[in-house]
Amino acid sequence: MSIETLALSATMALAAGLIGCFAVMRRMALAGDALSHVALPGIGVALALHIHPLFGAVAMLLFAGLLVWAIEDRSHLALETIIGVVFSGALAIGSLMTTGEDLIEALFGGTRTISQTEIIFGVLTAFAVTAFVLMRRHALIVTLVSPDIARTIGIDVRRLNLIYLEMFALTVALGLRYLGVLLMGSLIIIPAATAKRVSRNLTQMLTVASALAILVTVIGSLTAAHFHRPTGPFIVTLAAAVFFLSALWRNE
């Protein structure tokens, strides 16, 4: 594994840790996790059309972000149902369209050489997501506490929610290369959930979540490379282990 690949995966993890904090606080852990599944049919179509799978994945994810945004205002039951049916259905259809090595890599992340396109997309998107979370964190907090208060101080709540969801979708796309459609959602959610347990304020939570995400990604990637296995399972197993350790530590 090259230094460039490792560095790029660390920037991806930084974005994942940061965007995940608000997903966990907004109680959309499950939705966020399942959202990553919709990338698979996008990858399938892109492979069939001989274009870069990343573009197919991004298109599907942005559409899914828009879908969640459009129904989020309505009842939570509807959102859960849509996610259960549509996102899992997308995973099934995507699995039918993709086969063999391509499927395994799309599901769990691979170790193939990184392309120029992925480097440019990775750097730009990670920068955009990180900047968005850091610059808008207080607006996101007020919106979380009360959308009505947010409106009275001039925050366009619907627009902020849409941007947040699309940034979330792009973060998923960032990590597909390393963790695949099944596990990328977990890298966004688990470090943030761990950070929520051990933090006392927003700055701590953002710091702990991003540091943890980077740590498990780097260690997980190096371990996977050593054993010549897909990276995603190593990264997420490590993240989950840290979460359980934090749970034990807190309960004692």
Binding site: M25, H138, V145, D148, I149, K196, R200, N201
Partner: protein, 239 residues
């Protein structure tokens, strides 16, 4: 804001035949009232009569029919009904107040001043919001509203979920702020004694209809019986 709007007799809020529907259901129908600068208007009515819905329409959070005119350049502070926040959120009062600063730039001095006005310390606001008492949290929301230097405060049952001594202190705080800062206050309340004592006008909502007037004309046994469907007694403080 031009000077004539500040000093003239023009109402700060003029609501005419306001109607709000959620799908087929009509929540409020033809609600008409005016609020002048410096007044204290209490909004009363049974649960489900549309009090919170009215406030949300007034701040522009939900669409409505009819007309609703705020005087130009008016700034309002909104304190919503008891918020159902997860207690384990790693968010402090300071994290919340920082949204008031541009790009997170807010000095400790500015924050201490706003908190002092509502009787909170900066130290208390460095704790997570989940660890604040009901009364402290309401004070935090009021401090947040005050930091925008509002002309109007809209308070949706600020004393709900607060213990009795805390309720009294909150009511005193609201009256003191109103006097000191020459605020116009719109207050949703279930406490008819407080309403009778402090409101200059009362808007009573029930089953789609609205009554508006001075406390002595609205808080009559007959009207309250009609609105609440049961005789309502409240203690009138002697002045």
């Amino acid at each position: 804001m031009s000077e004539e709007h500040v000093t003239g007799e023009q109402p700060i809020l003029d609501v005419n035949r306001l109607t709000i529907r959620f799908g087929p259901a009509t929540i409020l129908k033809d609600v008409t009232f005016r609020v002048s600068r410096g007044e204290s208007v209490a909004v009363i009515g049974p649960n489900g009569s549309g009090k919170t819905v009215l406030f949300r329409a007034l701040i522009g959070a939900i669409p409505s029919e009819g007309t609703m005119k705020w005087a130009p350049g008016i700034r309002f502070g909104y304190v919503p009904q008891k918020l159902d926040l997860a207690r384990d959120l790693p968010i402090t009062g300071v994290d919340f107040l920082r949204a008031r600063g541009h790009g997170g730039q807010l000095t400790d001095a500015a924050m201490t001043e706003a908190l002092g006005a509502v009787g909170l310390t900066l130290a208390a606001c460095r704790q997570s919001v989940g660890s604040l008492s009901g009364g402290q949290f309401q004070r935090l929301l009021i401090a947040f509203a005050l930091m925008g230097d509002p002309d109007v405060l809209l308070l949706d049952e600020p004393t709900a979920g607060v213990d009795e001594p805390g309720q009294e202190r909150l009511n005193e705080l609201i009256q003191r702020l109103q006097a000191e800062r020459k605020l116009t206050v719109l207050l949703i309340s279930h406490d008819l004694s407080v309403v009778h004592q402090h409101a200059t006008h009362v808007l009573c909502l029930s089953a789609g209809t609205a009554h508006f007037g001075e406390p002595t004309t609205i808080l009559t046994p007959e009207l309250l019986h009609e609105v609440y469907g049961t005789p309502v007694a409240f203690h009138v403080h002697e002045h």
